[in-house]
């Protein structure tokens, strides 16, 4: 068997570049050190590629991609199918009640000692707003999509026809203190995701916490 015949025989089965050589091929490998070394290197490369694939196996797109796609899906198809299922009604009712309680707690239940003020643009920037180049794009929202937002203290209200921008940010949990929420010192450095509604002047008007 020549070297050419050896490599042709190896590549015969489709999709199996590195299959185990049969008797004739093994005999050639014993005679030909070059082919033996070349085959060993190809096998090692195959093993390396498998390791590389394994090391990336768990890598997935960030969760925000799924969130955006769900929004796009809703925009195209309307309410989720699950909303029509009767057994989900009590679940949605309980969730709504919890949200309402949380909103009340945030807006009326606790008053901070210091007067509130509207965060400046600089402060917003320090909240690690993710720029559009990092994949987060500021999007214009419709009125229906503004549900669940808590108006920021002393911020101007938003009229139904006002232009607004929505920016998703990650903020330290300590930022909740400004809204009158007690924050455990141990958790102050934790980060929470929030949507911030910006007016056309760039000033923050309302916030919605996602966690």
């Amino acid at each position: 068997m020549t070297c050419e015949e050896f490599w042709n025989s190896l590549s015969r089965p489709p999709g199996a570049e590195f299959f185990e050589p049969g008797g004739e091929e093994r005999a050639h490998l014993l005679e030909c050190a070059a082919c033996d070394a070349r085959l060993a290197r190809q096998r090692e490369l195959a093993a390396g590629l498998r390791s590389l694939a394994d090391s990336y196996r768990g890598l997935k797109a960030p969760g925000r991609v799924e969130a955006r796609l769900i929004r796009a899906f809703h925009a195209q198809h309307g309410a989720p199918v699950g909303m029509n299922r009767p057994w989900l009604v009590p679940v949605w009712a309980a969730a709504a009640a919890l949200l309402l309680a949380a909103a009340l707690l945030l807006t009326t239940g606790r008053q901070p000692a210091a007067p509130h003020r509207t965060p400046t643009g600089l402060e917003l920037a320090s909240m690690d707003a993710v720029s559009a180049s990092d994949g987060f794009t500021a999007e214009t929202e419709t009125t229906e999509e503004r549900e669940g937002f808590i108006p920021l203290p002393n911020a101007e209200g938003i009229g139904p026809n006002d232009d607004v921008n929505l920016v998703r940010v990650e903020v330290p949990r300590s930022a909740l203190v400004a809204l009158g929420v007690d924050v455990n010192a141990d958790q102050a450095s934790d980060r929470v995701e929030a949507d911030v509604l910006l007016g056309s002047d760039g000033v923050a008007r309302a916030v919605r916490f996602l966690d």
Binding site: P14, G15, L49, L69, I70, P80
Partner: protein
């Protein structure tokens, strides 16, 4: 959803009737491979994220042109991702230089004297290989990423790349040869150290 997992095609039919749950199933089943493919091809997590999103948005659009007779849905998604990646690469002229070696050029001879891989730790080996894959010319990179890293079969890869299966196999062969060549070239010093190790004492 229970029992036997639904096929991608069944999920797509449910998606078209507005079933969000089916969309989520399909997305979660396929997004990892699409994301990794675009990441390996573009070398940018931001680009990979944007393209993954675009691929599934395309699936939602009315004009989604998936035809089951032409291949699997997975292959169709890879095909969209590939087109978007190529558009991105062409816009950025990111790999113009890498395309210099055409398919017809001579296959690099596989060096057999030294094996740079054997000197590397497992982590170094993987990182070295990752870099080598990213710097492959585009047509070889995509076939390695599809067939070797994402384990797409040759028939599907041929549909994704729009070429015969034989071309997939020949590109893969050349891509692997190029990878070995790159790994040899990138660590010459390690090889030299071994080369200089005395095998016997000369008097």
């Amino acid at each position: 959803m229970s029992g036997r997992p639904e096929s991608d095609e069944d999920l797509l039919m449910r998606i078209r009737s507005g079933d969000e749950e089916a969309f989520l199933w399909l997305y979660r089943r396929r997004q990892g491979a699409i994301y990794r493919f675009t990441l390996h091809m573009s070398g940018s997590a931001t680009v990979a994220e944007d393209i993954t999103q675009e691929v599934f948005l395309a699936l939602l659009r009315e004009e989604c042109g998936y035809d089951p007779d032409r291949g699997t849905l997975s292959g169709y998604l890879f095909g969209i991702a590939r087109k978007l990646v190529l558009r991105h690469l062409e816009r950025g002229r990111a790999d113009v230089q890498l395309e210099a070696g055409g398919e017809d050029s001579v296959l690099p001879e596989l060096a057999i004297a030294q094996d740079p891989l054997e000197h590397l730790t497992q982590h170094e080996r993987i990182e070295a290989l990752r870099r080598a894959v990213v710097t492959l010319p585009r047509r070889y990179r995509e076939v390695v990423v599809l067939c070797d890293l994402e384990e797409v079969d040759y028939a599907d890869a041929a549909v994704v790349l729009g070429c015969p299966i034989g071309t997939v196999r020949s590109r893969l062969h050349r891509a692997r040869a190029l990878l070995l060549e790159k790994l040899n070239r990138d660590w010459p010093k390690r090889a030299v150290v071994k080369e200089l190790k005395p095998a016997r004492v000369l008097i």
